[in-house]
């Protein structure tokens, strides 16, 4: 009963100074709307970058890291004197085989792992693409195309041809879009590839892909694993890299560590491989929260000021209410509820405005006319969590901003006011 009386007083107060209430509300509205817009856009950018990144980076990449053990040297054996200490200055790394030994065993073992979704062996080499007089630097990945396709969803990224074409043709090659444009080749054309060691082979273009990252589309091609082994003059078990897709890619760092220990090869997770992207994601997130919280705190100060002004102009009313039997908590309810109503209305209109703005942005064409990034519209994501956070934060800010002046109002001694 008492609450409804207090609320009706609060309502009368709010309505008797509509302009002031609306201004206070707009402060919250813009704060929340900007928060929604910024977080939706920034998270959209993060998501876009992560997707792009994951389309080119495996969850876990196992490879043989070149490292020469410089602590042993045959120089010691040469002098055969245990009393002499032999120091070799500036030794050169020794020639090492870059391949993963027992690759087939490791692959078979990985496929049994319940966390692993797909495993793709890889042999990569630098090549020169020769077509007519043009000679371009790049590299080719020798893969089992059906496995590779499961890792990176290559089917969806084919601009021309199909991935299976690689299996059915003898010396087929699937080329990056940028590379194909530079060489001006189309499916069906023959290109000559030369390795740094001098061997050459002719391949027929059976497909063209576009991942959306210029630095890959301009230099990379897929061929069959056996073709690269042949080109390099290696045997059928020669593999330098194993790419793994996990069922849950958030587990990558831990799994990478376990694989590295188990197989004794370097295993890199996608977060580490793309630490700069992950860092910029974190920076964007932090920036978003800092700016949004600043906006809301400013809105909170606006409410704090308006409530203080209201209370200063209502000292007589507070005194009369107290004299008539309204207790301290009634006074707090009267003024705090005004602030909360402002906060709630502000937050709701803020969410609506924020949604409208983010929706508009998500329908705005992205002004990119180059082929480096494949982005049609500004990346925006819509998550319920952001909206819940927005409304909660709006309410909490206005609660705190309204609480202090309300408590101050409740402490007013009516005798001081009534005696004049």
């Amino acid at each position: 009963m008492s609450l409804s009386v207090n609320l009706s007083i609060s309502k009368t107060h709010l309505l008797s100074r509509k302009k002031q209430s609306v201004v206070a509300m707009l402060g919250v509205t813009f704060g929340i709307a900007m928060f929604i817009l910024m977080i939706s856009f920034m998270q959209g950018v993060n998501q876009f970058l992560e997707d792009t990144m994951l389309s080119a980076t495996p969850d876990i990449h196992i490879y043989n890291d070149v490292s020469t053990d410089f602590s042993v040297s045959i120089a010691g054996d040469y002098y055969k004197d245990s009393m002499k200490s032999v120091i070799v200055h500036h030794p050169k790394p020794k020639q090492v085989q870059l391949n993963i030994k027992n690759a087939e065993g490791i692959i078979a073992d990985l496929k049994k792992d319940p966390l692993v979704a797909a495993v793709s062996p890889l042999l990569s080499t630098q090549v020169f693409y020769n077509y007519g007089p043009v000679q371009l630097n790049g590299f080719i990945d020798g893969v089992n195309i059906s496995e590779e396709s499961r890792l990176f969803n290559l089917e969806e990224k084919m601009v021309d041809g199909k991935t299976e074409n690689l299996l059915t043709s003898d010396n087929g090659i699937i080329m990056g879009q940028g590379l194909a444009d530079k060489l001006n080749v189309r499916t069906g054309d023959l290109v000559t590839l030369a390795t740094p060691t001098g061997s050459t082979m002719r391949f027929r273009v059976v497909g063209i892909f576009q991942i959306g990252i210029g630095t890959i589309d301009n230099v990379k091609s897929y061929v069959n694993l056996a073709s690269v082994q042949q080109l390099l003059g290696k045997d059928r078990s020669y593999i330098t890299d194993i790419n793994i897709k996990l069922k849950d890619n958030k587990l990558s760092p831990a799994e990478a560590l376990a694989f590295a220990r188990k197989y004794n090869y370097k295993a890199e997770d996608w977060q580490t491989a793309n630490s700069s992207v992950m860092a910029s994601n974190l920076i964007r997130d932090t920036l978003t929260y800092v700016v949004s919280i600043t906006l809301l705190v400013v809105a909170g100060f606006g409410i704090y000021n308006i409530m203080n002004m209201t209370i200063a102009s209502k000292l007589k009313d507070i005194a009369i209410l107290k004299a008539q039997g309204f207790a301290r908590q009634d006074i707090i309810q009267i003024f705090l509820s005004q602030s909360l109503v402002i906060g709630l209305l502000g937050a709701i209109t803020g969410l609506l405005l924020g949604f409208a703005l983010s929706y508009t942005l998500s329908r705005t064409p992205f002004p990119a006319n180059n082929s480096f990034i494949s982005l049609k519209y500004f990346p925006v994501i819509f998550r319920t969590g952001h909206y819940v956070f927005g409304i909660l934060f709006g309410l909490i800010t206005t609660f705190i901003a309204g609480l202090m002046p309300s408590i101050k109002a409740s402490r007013i001694d009516p005798v001081d006011i009534l005696r004049g």
Partner: protein, 225 residues
């Protein structure tokens, strides 16, 4: 007649700007239905005494009993409830809530008390306004009423919960003589014909002398007459 208010050895000090004893050992009682005027020169402590009796000011020594209930030493929340139920206020500067209509102002204490439904309270408030001959202004914003009209609405508000005592602080202090007379007539009617107990502070000697009893304060003492 039964005693409705008992003040026993009241002492009060002001500490600002310097320690000063404003009330000195005041004891008296008021009977039910009595119309009492508290008079005295400016600074004699008559308003201070009224605020003590009204339970708004709790910083004093001594005991106050209202209707045989000891109000001294009760919690602020309990006193708020007690005032709401048992004490009606009329102040010098009317003190209506300006954003509310006259009838809403009258209804507020009853709504706070929560004893009756809203419709019933509205009916009661209208009745009190009629008593003050203010029923035609019921739906007007109280800020738009004249001083005399506001004071009559304030008296209606003081009556809404049928309080044990009506306390008034210079109720005519801000009114011209014709309005003062109206207010006085209302008070007299309330006390004589309706059995309301009224304690009013005034420096208007005419007004004071028409009350049942005058309690005069001189420098914080009761001046016996």
């Amino acid at each position: 007649m039964s005693e409705i208010l008992n003040a026993i050895h009241l002492n009060k000090y002001f500490y600002e700007p310097e320690p000063f004893q404003v009330l000195r050992d005041i004891s008296f009682s008021v009977d039910k239905g009595e119309f009492v005027s508290l008079v005295g020169k400016s600074g004699s402590g008559k308003s201070t005494l009224l605020y003590l009796l009204s339970t708004l000011d709790t910083d004093y020594a001594g005991t106050i009993m209202i209707n045989n209930i000891k109000v001294t030493g009760q919690s602020q929340n309990a006193l708020s409830k007690f005032r709401n139920e048992n004490i009606g206020f009329v102040f010098q500067f009317h003190f209506l809530l300006p954003e509310f209509t006259a009838i809403e102002n009258v209804m507020l204490p009853a709504l706070k008390l929560g004893k009756y439904s809203r419709n019933k309270i509205e009916e009661m408030a209208m009745e009190k306004l009629k008593l003050m001959d203010m029923q035609s202004f019921a739906r007007k914003l109280s800020g738009k009423l004249s001083g005399g009209q506001q004071q009559r609405v304030a008296i209606a508000r003081a009556l809404i919960n049928d309080p044990l005592i009506i306390m008034a602080d210079e109720p005519t202090g801000n009114l011209d003589s014709s309005n003062s007379k109206i207010v006085f007539d209302i008070f007299q009617d309330l006390s004589r014909n309706r059995g309301n107990t009224i304690i009013t502070v005034t420096h208007d000697t005419d007004f004071a002398h028409r009350a049942d009893r005058i309690i005069e304060l001189v420098d914080g003492h009761l001046a016996h007459s």
